[in-house]
Amino acid sequence: MLFNSLSFIVFLAIVLVLYYAKLFNWTNKKRMLLLASYLFYAMWNPPLVILLWISTIVDYTAGKKLAVLENQRQRKMWLLLSMFVNLGFLAFFKYGDFLLENFVTALNAVGMDFQAQPMDIILPMGISFYTFQTMSYTIDMYKRKIEPARTFLDFALYVTFFPQLVAGPIVRAKELITQFYEEKKATTQQFLWGTFLLTIGLFQKIVLADTLLAGTSDDVFGSRTILHGLDAWTGTLAFSGQIFFDFAGYSTCAIGIALMLGIILPDNFRYPYAAIGFSDLWRRWHISLSTWLRDYLYIPLGGNRHGITSMYAALMITMLLGGLWHGAAWTFVIWGALHGIYLVIERLLRNKIRIKINTWNGVLLALLTYTCVNITWVFFRAREFETAKNMLASMFGLNDGAKILQSFDIIKVFTVITILFICHWVMRNTSMKAVSLKTPPIVLGIVWAILFVLICIAQGSGEQFIYFQF
């Protein structure tokens, strides 16, 4: 079920009525939320709920064992079982075809004539999100960083909680399970703020991503001809805006919906396009994934504890795997590699050049960062290396290709992206909540109404969120 759909509006209304009606005690309310979450997922593909159940049962059992077992070898076996199941799901469902394809290529490269039928495996929606979330629980249990979930219901709800089930934020157990222990009820302020966030999220998705930017991005990246530089840049900028509004929109909706239930989810985006440098970018973009990768991959790989070379190697491996997390294609690996290289270069330069950031050089550095990010987006969006190569050649003036975009499309994209960048820069060191507190209520109401009316006028065709496929 998509947040930007009529069925979700009805679903949410029913859930809220059942949640706030005095029909159930807290345990039954949690059961209702769990059933609602399974229904939310099953409305897309019912049989794949079984994967959620398997993940839930295996990790709950592993967590319980890890809490009581003292034998280190046995503890490791339970951790490995959890990893095997979750990573096995990922390997089979997400990377099965990719692995097979590369296996065939490798055999052909060494002269063995081998062909294989693609497996055409369906990719369960949000599998990368919930497997990472449940793995964080067992890893934290293994490291004895957290207490086991008190009940199976609490754990199942942690794995399946519908607002963040299919596209995050990837929430750690200590941040979410503990909230299920005591009855939760949103205050009026929380409920209304959650509703406002839901409106903002839907506006980002329906109006900004789908209506204003997606068409241009699709036209440019779907073009089979070599493009003019302006068209290539416009398409890339459009995609940079589309993916931000699409994903940040989903996270904002998720945070808002959870808040309407009195549950607090962590921020996932903090105005990333105003980032100065790439370390800053990853503190602002998909925060729940970048902190996950930091805690469960980069640090276990040694982090910065074993010298500079080892640190750079850990960084590169982390970013390469982070790229692969997004999709089973080499273009995603290159995307991750570019980010890894950016981070390495930044760390090298940071030791040699000290810049005191002020407004003017800050804006320039943020623009430079954003420009470099756009180059990586080309690999992220292009389905083939040939497309990426042609796009980059056009962007750097090496092609004098076809003009496929109309003047208005170009103006539209540059206007939206300029406003996006200015907003991110202005909001860089603050938050929407802080700004709202300073805004007169009537002005906030007018803004709210404009967003809502534009959502209704834009309608949208219930397009999927891009990150569902990851």
Partner: protein
């Protein structure tokens, strides 16, 4: 933060804004209509799975959609057909889906619009891709898709602002459609598609009728004929007569071998369409040959005195009134010929 005040302001202003928006577009002559989208098509396609051998399925391009009126057909034959025709489409992918993915062995009436029927079997070409997307959607649609469509019906039927079209028509009043109307300096150097407007209304079982305006307002009909002219005179790939005929014949054979009753119909056309179709898709070499190869029953409008001089206001489809006549005559001829009865082997 006084969010209650903000919410109140937002609710009042949103209500005023949306009511004004709705009233404005109604004052501009817009009326709520259903959209002929993939969801509506999928609902009808689903019905094929439970049809009996006495039932009738229609498929083809927009001419079957506009020209065969379900009520009239039912009045004459006692059978209400399932309408699966798809505008701007080759009928081949949909017929192929019926043959390959259902056990249906009743009657399938396939409309032949020569430029579309004989166009292509290339999956990425528009006349193939458009119906194939509908077929794919039907097979992949989720429960959420079904519920969303079901919930959207009363909104589409009652609110102009919710009556957007899946196809990019120039009259669309959703935000994307409105932005598309803004034209600045042309920079692509390519000929631009002339304005195109919807000229029919569809109901929940996809019975489609031409609007009164299209039938009576020549200036409006000319807007549509300009669009047809643009399509006809544009450079496009040559028709693949051999490939399409072979593809269809194979499906026809399979369908008839399992007891299916196949009927080909050729609805009328006028003006530049008729001229172009006669010249580039001569009946004796294409349509008659198709009938011969497949062994299907055939109803060509030129063979009937009541139909042969019918005029399509925008060259390709009949007015609602003429569509009733066309359907009545067609259905009566079918009854007379016992054509809706399956052949006994």
């Amino acid at each position: 933060m006084q969010l209650k005040t903000s919410l109140l302001v937002a609710l009042v202003l949103s209500a005023i804004g949306l009511v004004s928006w709705e009233l404005y577009w109604r004052s501009q002559g817009y009326e709520p209509t259903l959209d002929d989208n993939k969801h509506l098509w999928a609902v009808e396609r689903d019905k094929v799975n439970s049809l009996t051998e006495n039932d009738v399925v229609l498929t083809g391009s927009s001419r079957v959609l506009f020209d065969i009126q379900l009520d009239e057909f039912e009045k004459v034959t006692g059978i209400r057909p399932i309408q699966l025709a798809s505008a701007g489409s080759s009928p081949l992918p949909i017929f192929h889906d019926i043959v390959e993915n259902t056990d249906f062995n009743g009657t399938v009436i396939v409309g032949v619009t020569p430029p579309l029927f004989f166009s292509t079997t290339f999956p990425q070409a528009g006349p193939w891709r458009r119906p194939q997307l509908r077929v794919d959607h039907y097979h992949k649609r989720t429960y959420a898709n079904r519920v969303n469509h079901w919930l959207s019906i009363p909104l589409q039927e009652n609110l102009v602002m919710m009556s957007g079209h899946e196809e990019e028509a120039d009259e669309n009043i959703d935000l994307k459609g409105l932005l598309r109307r803004i034209k600045l300096a042309e920079r692509t150097g390519k000929p631009q598609y002339p304005p195109f407007f919807e000229f029919g209304t569809i109901d929940s079982d996809r019975n489609t009728r031409m609007t009164e305006r299209t039938a009576t307002d020549t200036a409006f009909a000319n807007v549509i004929t300009n669009a047809w002219k643009f399509i006809i005179t544009s450079d496009g790939p040559p028709p693949d007569v051999e490939g399409t005929t072979k593809f269809f014949a194979a499906d026809a054979k399979k369908f008839m071998e399992r007891g299916g009753n196949l009927i080909l119909v050729r609805p009328p056309s006028s003006g530049m369409f008729k001229g172009g179709e006669s010249k580039f898709f001569p009946r004796d070499k294409l349509y008659d040959e198709l009938v011969k190869i497949t062994g299907a029953k055939s109803y060509h409008y030129e063979d009937y005195d009541e139909l042969k001089d019918m005029v399509c206001p925008e060259w390709s489809h009949l007015s609602a009134e003429d569509a009733d006549i066309y359907t009545r005559v067609l259905a009566q001829e079918m009854i007379k010929d016992n054509a809706l009865t399956k052949p006994t082997n």
